[in-house]
């Protein structure tokens, strides 16, 4: 068994962990780093539940081999709030009832953050396509799209 020592900046902190060379970043984050907010829904990049920002880009952690992140920067849902202060997206998801079971929520929050970081004023259609890589089976997406619209508006006015 070959476990590689990997160092990456995760949610602002330098973190060391060991991972099998062929294992996914998703398994490494969950099993080795303890960040179980990153969820597995499919393991094949089709559901977006494991969405993280890897070197600032939205990525499915299940499609990344753990050794690829050596020296890289990762932000997960656990790193979205600024200390005790929730990100506007988190606040708007809460207030807008944009989650039911909550399993897809971490992935949606990361995908929505990636969208708003590059496009602070997206149309409904742009939001829907930007979130198309994230599956939700509970909400029908209505309240998620509205929460992202509301968060975008709050961020623009802030």
């Amino acid at each position: 068994m070959s476990r590689r020592h990997i160092t990456a900046t995760i949610n602002g902190d330098e973190v060391d962990f060991l991972a099998e060379e062929g294992s996914s970043l998703l398994n490494a984050l969950r099993d080795e780093v303890g960040l179980t907010g990153v969820k597995e829904g499919c393991g094949t990049g089709d559901c977006g539940s494991c969405s993280v920002l890897l070197n600032d880009y939205l990525t499915c952690a299940c499609l990344v081999f753990a050794p690829e992140v050596e020296g890289g920067t990762i932000v997960t849902v656990e790193g979205l709030a600024n200390g005790g202060e929730l990100h506007p997206l988190q606040q708007c998801f809460l207030e807008g009832a944009a989650l039911q079971c909550g399993i897809c929520t971490p992935g949606f929050l990361m995908a929505a953050k990636a969208l708003l970081d590059r496009n602070p004023n997206p149309t409904e259609t742009e939001i829907r396509y930007a979130l198309a890589g994230n599956l939700c089976r509970c909400t029908g997406y209505d309240k998620i799209v509205r929460a992202v619209q509301e968060a975008a508006s709050q961020i623009r006015e802030a």
């Binding site: 068994m1 099998e20 398994n27 969950r30 099993d31 303890g34 960040l35 179980t36 907010g37 990153v38 969820k39 597995e40 829904g41 499919c42 393991g43 094949t44 089709d46 559901c47 539940s49 997960t76 849902v77 656990e78 979205l80 709030a81 929730l86 988190q90 809460l94 207030e95 807008g96 009832a97 989650l99 039911q100 079971c101 909550g102 399993i103 897809c104 929520t105 971490p106 929050l109 409904e124 259609t125 939001i127 829907r128 396509y129 979130l131 198309a132 890589g133 994230n134 599956l135 939700c136 089976r137 509970c138 909400t139 029908g140 997406y141 209505d142 309240k143 998620i144 799209v145 509205r146």
Partner: protein, 750 residues
């Protein structure tokens, strides 16, 4: 938008505060099924059948057992054979579904399981288990299974519900019938009779969280399971049955559940995880891969349904003749019974004959899926209704209004309806601006309705008043979509304290009384009623304590706005905090438990309006506008009522347009991934407008009916009727995929 029949002036019920468990779920702290990590935990992997139907000749585990890190390998030999121990037929089926015994009955059926130090070792060991099969001929559909001389799944299956008992076994587990009046007379009275035949494919609940269980077994026979399910008491009972032990030896802690929709009411992994943990002496985690979820859990039935209905030129339904065959998967138990009860339950039809068959096939055993059985039946009947309305040139909502069941109507399945809100949902859609909005080229509009009973069943709740006057509400119903919030809102209303001062908790099987599953749209109704009962015991107790404090009779004390007040105002009021702080002097801690079997279930109706646009050259259908009107009884938590309505519609649109199990001729599922099993993505759907209709259920303290399920009943017919309006073709087979729609358009163009 809500149609409020009356406003009783609630302070908390009907508001939209932040849900109690929200923060954990938007920060990644919430612990779902696969999130538990125990010291020394092993990873499990499951060996599954590659064949749809085969006899297991031998299983060679020797190589797997000798591989690095492997701690346990189990097969059916590690479980009691319930057939030899006097187990019920249902228990034997359940056990054989968890782990195949003599035969595998579907691709994905479990034949062995392993536990090892790492995931990779477990997977490698599972791959090294050698199973020898004798492949048998298989059946995949109702037609194949019911054919003469069809291969049999179960040699001892004789159709129930046929008198006399059939002489030969078959793949038909049972037959159900509902009938009234004189069918021939009814059709003779009709001016227009429409007769159609429909098929639907198995579809999966599609929860995003795969099944997961962690078990830690002790050497004394006790075990602790952490799993995501719709009912941890059910998981306890079923696991105990499969393992042949007392439920009291098993403790189940409910993890947060990442969606279920009925599909997480069944044990798959839990008994395997416990047995592996016992054999290995270490905790074991088992998590399904997505393809295992598709191949071996869920789905709901594929069906063949024939409907013949008659109507007079004046719009009076005269007769309905319905034939339904529902695939059960590998073991009996399709929802054809519920289908038979719901199929024409929206309408008062004097003459009908409804016949249904529960048919086993070599596919995964079906599990409940949101209003189980009703959506496919409604697809058939509600599209016939649309044809009837157009045939006699009457507005489709008016036809439904004219024949709608109301309070006092004898339901097609038996009882008289109490107060119900079907007519109100029809009127809500008729009055919605979308009903008369202009349609563009290639656009069309469809309406459909649906019915679901809702369930009551058993619930328990305990309410503790903390020393500062805040409250803890302890329930045993897993919160699948916001039920903690509705519990807290009702408790706040009863206790007269702030919602924020109430902490709802979903407790494990050893910490709260028994609860049936979170299903049947029952939790807000039944567990809510238990919470209300417990709160009322507490407020009575609080009044007694105030009476004692003031040395007056209890009848002189009222509980108003969270305070004990003397009826004549002669005493300064005592708040809950006052009473709680001094509870030691008035009889000790304040707490109450209520357990009940919920009666007075309120039936739910939904009417939905769908606008589509069809590309006539490619057969692509896009849903462009959608409204759902549903009778919630009373919306305790309107934001989450809307969420249930929208979610049901979205699943229904997926079922209508793209979702299906695709099996090849060998009985192997070809699209066991979210890439090829196409549930709707955000860009596939429009905003889904909701109209919460509130016709309170008179039998519930807050008028609750239950809202989780009926929303998925109308969408397939609503979409089909809209497609017909847009493109002039009647789609009778689900899904209405681009391939099928273009075929139909080509046929029409000939």
């Amino acid at each position: 938008m809500a149609v409020i029949e009356e406003n009783p002036g609630y302070k908390w019920v009907g508001t939209r505060p932040i849900r109690p468990d929200g923060l954990e779920k938007i920060t990644g702290k919430a612990q779902f099924g696969a999130d538990s990590i125990l010291p020394g935990m092993l990873y499990g992997s499951v060996v599954r059948s590659p064949h749809a139907h085969a006899r297991i000749l031998s299983i060679d585990m020797s190589v797997a057992k000798s591989m690095p890190g492997v701690k346990a390998v189990i097969t059916s030999a590690d479980f009691p054979d319930l057939a030899l121990n006097g187990g019920s037929a249902g228990d034997i089926d359940m056990s054989n579904n968890v782990m195949a015994r003599a035969k595998v009955l579907y691709e994905g059926h479990v034949v062995a399981a392993v536990a090892a130090n790492t995931r990779e070792q477990a997977k490698a060991a599972a791959d090294a288990v050698i199973v020898n099969y004798e492949v048998l001929p298989h059946v995949l559909t109702v037609d194949e299974a019911m054919a003469d001389n069809a291969p049999l799944l179960h040699d001892g299956m004789y159709t129930k519900g046929i008198d006399p008992k059939p002489e030969k076994p078959s793949n038909v587990a049972s037959r159900v019938v509902h009938e009234r009046g004189d069918l021939d007379k009814g059709f003779a009275e009709a001016d227009l009779v429409i007769e159609r035949e429909y098929t639907t494919k198995p579809v999966h609940q599609g929860y995003i969280e795969p099944h997961a269980a962690v078990a830690d077994a002790n050497s004394d026979g006790r075990a602790h399971i952490w799993c995501s399910s719709q009912g941890h008491f059910q998981m306890r009972a079923h696991t105990a049955t499969v393992l042949g032990v007392s439920p009291g030896t098993i403790k189940v802690t409910a993890a947060e559940i990442g969606g279920g929709f009925g599909g997480k009411t069944v044990v798959y992994l839990e008994p395997l995880a416990v047995r592996l943990s016992q054999r290995a002496g270490r905790p074991v985690k088992l998590v399904m891969d997505r393809d295992e979820v598709f191949r071996a859990s869920g789905p709901t039935s594929g069906t063949r349904i024939k409907v013949k209905m008659g109507v007079t030129n004046e719009g009076q339904l005269t007769a309905a003749d319905v034939w339904m065959g529902y695939e059960a998967g590998a073991f009996s138990g399709s929802p054809v019974g519920a289908a038979g009860m719901t199929v024409i339950a929206c309408y008062d039809i004097p003459n009908f004959f409804v016949e249904g068959f529960d048919v086993v096939v070599n596919k995964p055993r079906v599990a409940a899926y949101r209003a189980p059985g009703a959506p496919m039946a409604a697809f058939a009947v509600e599209t016939v209704m649309d044809e009837l309305a157009r045939g006699i040139n009457i507005d489709p909502i008016d036809l439904r209004l004219q024949n709608a069941v109301v309070e006092g109507t004898q339901a097609s399945y038996g009882p008289k309806f109490p107060r119900i809100g079907f007519v109100e949902t029809l009127e809500a859609i008729k009055n919605h601006p979308q009903y008369t909005a202009e349609l563009g080229p290639n656009q069309g509009r469809g309406v459909a309705a649906g019915f679901w009973f809702n369930a009551g069943m058993n619930s328990s709740a305990t309410v503790h008043i903390n020393e500062n006057g805040t409250a803890t509400v302890v329930v045993g119903s897993p919160d699948i979509g916001g039920s903690r919030q509705s519990m807290a809102l009702m408790a706040a209303e009863e206790l007269g304290i702030s919602y924020e001062n109430i902490k709802p908790v979903v407790a494990d099987t050893e910490t709260v009384g028994f609860n049936d599953v979170t299903g049947g749209s029952r939790v807000t109704l039944a567990t809510g009623a238990a919470v209300v009962d417990a709160c009322r015991v507490i407020t009575a107790d609080l009044r007694a304590r105030a009476a004692k404090t003031w040395d007056v009779e209890i009848d002189d004390v009222e509980w108003v706005d969270g305070q004990a007040q003397h009826v004549d105002g002669s005493q300064p009021p005592l708040s809950l905090a006052d009473l709680a702080g001094k509870s030691g002097r008035t009889g000790g801690p304040i707490s109450a438990t209520a357990s009940l079997n919920a009666r007075g279930v309120g039936a739910a109706f939904s009417t939905q309006l769908c606008d589509v646009e069809v590309d006539p050259e490619t057969g692509i259908t896009r849903v462009i506008r959608y409204v759902s009107a549903q009778d919630a009884g009373r919306a305790i938590s309107p934001a989450y009522v809307e969420g249930q309505m929208q979610g049901g519609v979205a699943q229904g649109i997926g079922w209508a347009l793209n979702e299906e199990y695709i099996h090849n001729s060998s009985g192997v599922m070809e699209n066991a991934s979210f890439l090829d099993y196409r549930i709707p993505v955000a860009s596939d759907l429009p905003m889904i407008d909701t109209v919460i209709v509130e016709v309170p259920n008179p039998a519930h303290p807050y008028g609750v009916r239950g809202v989780g399920e009926v929303g998925i009943v109308p969408p397939m017919a609503a979409v089909a009727n809209a497609i017909s309006d847009a493109a002039g073709v009647r789609m009778k087979d689900l899904p209405m995929s681009p391939v099928k729609l273009l075929e139909a358009l080509n046929e029409k163009g000939k």
